[in-house]
Subunit: 544 residues, 2 copies
């Protein structure tokens, strides 16, 4: 299968994995590239942490492994894994009435999840959808695969085949399912069912495309480009400029040709497609609950129904926006999933991670725009863009109602899921891995993260560096005065008071972090994004 061909694992460094031939032009990993016994080429900063804490973490890992084995013995299989990842949300938008009361709505099921499990207060993502989703799937910053911005219709680009996803890592040891928003682009090699998932209905682009390239959106003034007869053609010469022949969602099974699932022409069609995808999500859980094999489910729901305002009425919140209504609707679905896990008796053998993919779209006020603790939103590398609501639930393992103030990054889920699935040896050894195994954080709670830093990119360029409570913004132009760049996130979570004299010590430290990061990139260069004709390998709806 396509996704297997390009996988490369360095035999020298592997601890129990399978060595495959290298097909990429990157240097193979050798002892000098990694300092961890597992042979993974972690990002340079983590290797420095390992130097300081490796011994302690190795001992801790034995304890973790014992607990995982005890769980496997108890339940007769590895834990199921559910990753819920939704769009554009500020930290504080869900998780507790202490947050949501400020905005006049409730999301009781996510609040219940937080009470049953844990709340992350420093979960970092990339600043926009495609990058975060790629980082979650590959354990690598999206810049490493060229997936540096949200892909829109018809960009003719997508996730390259050579990336190894978490579905490929768990491979046949898990039933794998993917439903709703992938946003990995329109290239065949990047389709979810070509990237390791057994079964999927997924969108190539985002949820706004699904809503806004419709007649309904035109009628509300959102767009004016898509109805065949929706606009005056008097000056109309170029018939190819508007992406009229675009495609939204594809249904796929591993090893098979995909089938176009839905490209809505109306808001009702958009809602209908989402409804069906969610039904398939529930069916997937039900189907595999009693299987000998565990399952891994990526349910990455399309959040925010905004194109057809009327369809949201009557509003059930005091807030009275379509976005609050959308959050409530998603929350109901999350409640259904939690209820189903309970009904099927698999709650205690299922890890659920639920989170947003980046900060809110601040310019779309008030639909997703307001921010609270932090400044900025989607596409910003201030905390408002990259620090999101996030929760984990695993009854019997995670302490109910706990809060962790540690730094964690979305790419860490790749390693953590691999560890929990017993497939850590399948993580590639021929490339830089940004993710870090955070199983200890889930199992032991506050203070047990193995990360104290985050590199954030804005497109192809590094935008900011977070280290502990300190943060440096990287100016786009030539070096500015230090005073404009350095922040203390505890004292100034909104990054409104840059500090100069107080941070003279930090200039060289952040410079060195970036230099080590860049040096590693020079040796292990980024993979080019996949580019080519869109929608190959998919049977269009018209042809089905």
């Amino acid at each position: 299968m396509m996704h297997r061909l390009t996988r490369h694992v360095c035999g020298l460094c592997m601890a129990g994995g399978l060595a495959l031939a290298a097909t990429l032009s990157v240097a193979p990993a050798h002892a000098q590239d990694t300092n961890t016994p597992d042979g993974i080429i972690y990002e340079a900063e983590f290797q420095r942490l390992w130097e300081q804490k490796g011994e302690e973490w190795t001992a801790e890992d034995k304890e973790i492994q014992d607990r995982l084995q005890a769980l496997e013995k108890k339940f007769g299989k590895k834990p199921n894994i559910i990753h819920i990842l939704w769009d554009d949300m500020r930290m504080g938008a869900v998780g507790s009435r202490l947050y949501t009361d400020i905005s006049g709505y409730e999301a009781p099921n996510l609040e219940k999840m937080a009470r049953s499990g844990l709340t992350f207060t420093r979960m970092y993502t990339e600043p926009s959808c495609t990058p975060t989703r790629v980082a979650a799937a590959t354990g690598r910053l999206a810049v490493r695969s060229g997936m540096i911005f949200p892909i829109f219709p018809i960009h003719r680009m997508g996730l390259p085949a050579s990336e190894v996803t978490i579905a490929e890592v768990v491979d046949d040891t898990y039933h794998t399912g993917f439903f709703e928003k992938a946003h990995f682009g329109d290239q065949e090699e990047g389709y979810v069912h070509n990237q390791g998932w057994d079964e999927a209905i997924f969108s190539l682009y985002n949820q706004f495309a699904g809503q806004m390239f419709t007649k309904d959106a035109e009628s509300t003034g959102f767009t004016t480009a898509f109805s065949e007869d929706g606009y005056d053609k008097k000056y109309f010469i170029d018939n190819s400029f508007r992406p009229l022949n675009w495609m939204w969602t594809v249904e796929g099974f591993e090893g098979q040709k995909g089938r176009e699932f839905s490209t809505p022409k109306t808001f009702a069609e958009y809602q209908d497609a989402n409804k069906k995808m969610f039904q398939r999500t529930l069916e997937f859980i039900r189907k595999h609950a009693k299987s000998d094999k565990p399952f891994m489910l990526q349910w990455w729901p399309n959040l925010y129904e905004v194109a057809d305002q009327d369809a949201m009425r009557p509003f059930s919140t005091q807030n009275g926006t379509a976005s609050a209504e959308s959050i409530k609707r998603m929350d109901v679905k999350i409640g259904q999933i939690m209820g189903l896990l309970k009904e099927l008796g698999i709650s205690e053998n299922t890890l659920v991670i639920a989170m947003a993919d980046n900060g809110p779209m601040v310019p779309i006020h008030p639909e997703t725009g307001q921010n609270g603790f932090f400044r900025g939103g989607k596409n910003d590398v201030t905390e408002g863009g990259i620090r999101v609501p996030a929760f984990a639930m695993w009854p019997g393992v995670i302490e109910p109602g706990s809060v962790v103030g540690d730094i964690i990054h979305v790419s860490d889920l790749f390693n953590t899921f691999a560890r929990i699935a017993g497939r850590y040896d399948q993580i590639p050894r021929d490339r830089v891995i940004d993710g870090i195994d955070q199983t200890a954080l889930l199992m032991k709670g506050d203070g047990h993260s193995r990360r104290d830093y985050v590199f954030t990119y804005k497109g192809p360029k590094m935008g900011s560096i977070v280290k502990q409570q300190f943060k440096r913004h990287l100016p786009i132009g030539p070096g500015a005065l230090a005073g404009a760049e350095f922040f203390d996130l505890y004292k100034d979570p909104r990054e409104e008071h840059p500090l100069m004299a107080e941070f003279l010590w930090a200039w060289a430290q952040f410079d060195a972090m970036k230099a080590r990061h860049d040096k590693q990139i020079a040796k292990f260069p980024h993979t080019p994004v996949a580019r080519g004709e869109p929608y190959t390998g998919v049977v269009r709806l018209a042809d089905q």
Copy 2:
């Protein structure tokens, strides 16, 4: 006693109270001034609410009264009341790790109080210390007694004798104590022990004065005015400009002359005075715990130790500011009070309200400056200035871990304490009362507030009006375009997106609210603030 002389209760309107002769030049209350059976002249807006909900609330009050009587039967006396009111804090600075993790410190005892009791998410105050404290003590907006700004040394003004405080309302039926920061000014008639409290050690001004008019503050560059030998006197002519002969705290017992308690010359003296005042607070509780009479305690602690940075080292938080350290220290004291109530077996017969008096001092970054959910801080009439962290604890009565999203105002505590103390009939009937009885909100929780509005003043002028989720800012100059004034607080808690077209309906409604408010003021004019020589009726330390 001084505070009795000027109290006036209109015999026509009183339900069970004692009629006294009028000594103020305001019109007495008559049927046309009030529409409530208790004869209180509530602010005009509440009278409109009563028209709509009076019947329902009358029925609810019977239920409340039954519960209060059952409690009194059970415990053999009325409930004790503790009001904890501290300085300058943004909502979200305490109460849950979901909030405090953002800033890198913990306040575990206030978190415990929130878990044991309830969190208010819309507790409104006045925008600065003196006004909020006066509103809490008198149940009236501070503008009605001329106490419109924080009183500093030596302003020669203070709370007028004619104001009736909550201590005067509960009178001899409660042991009443007041410790730490009053900030009612420097006039004898306004001293706490002349305003109804049995026993008090209280400051005339704020806590910064106590710290900053010291040699230690001079040595850190905060102030340069107060040491006799602390500055070059070459151009020094006027010996009266710097308030060298000021006084900070007074110890007083009802009916007796006061005694200067402490006017610190060093930071150590400031800390020592606070320590002693807190010890007296604990002694007060211990002394009256087993008494036949309940007690009412105003512990309004001095928060933020900032003048002597060294005295705060080493910092025990990740945040690493003196303000975070101060919050932790206050939190420890709150834990001591909670522990003492438990030790004495009186937790279940004691209502504790704990809250800040206004938003943070944003200009003093990062000491108290950062803001989260809201825009602005102390002295602003945006939510950042007037919406504060607030909690209530009353085991067995208040549901543990509850959250109330209702609007409540600090002046409501006056009425609520009066109700709980069985002294509602002692609330004056000759003046406008802004407070509203919120006992139902405490006992029945979310959705049971009787207030859906707040008038906020900035000095003598109305600054903004909150009604439900809507808010109008009142421009200082002549009428601006509606677009600059109107906000939806659920959609835009930071008041960053004024709305115009969406609020055309609201222009006239807010105008009418203000017109009714002003009409009532014309009939019941403000009381002039007390003015005169400072520190009369107090024996100076030098003379003791």
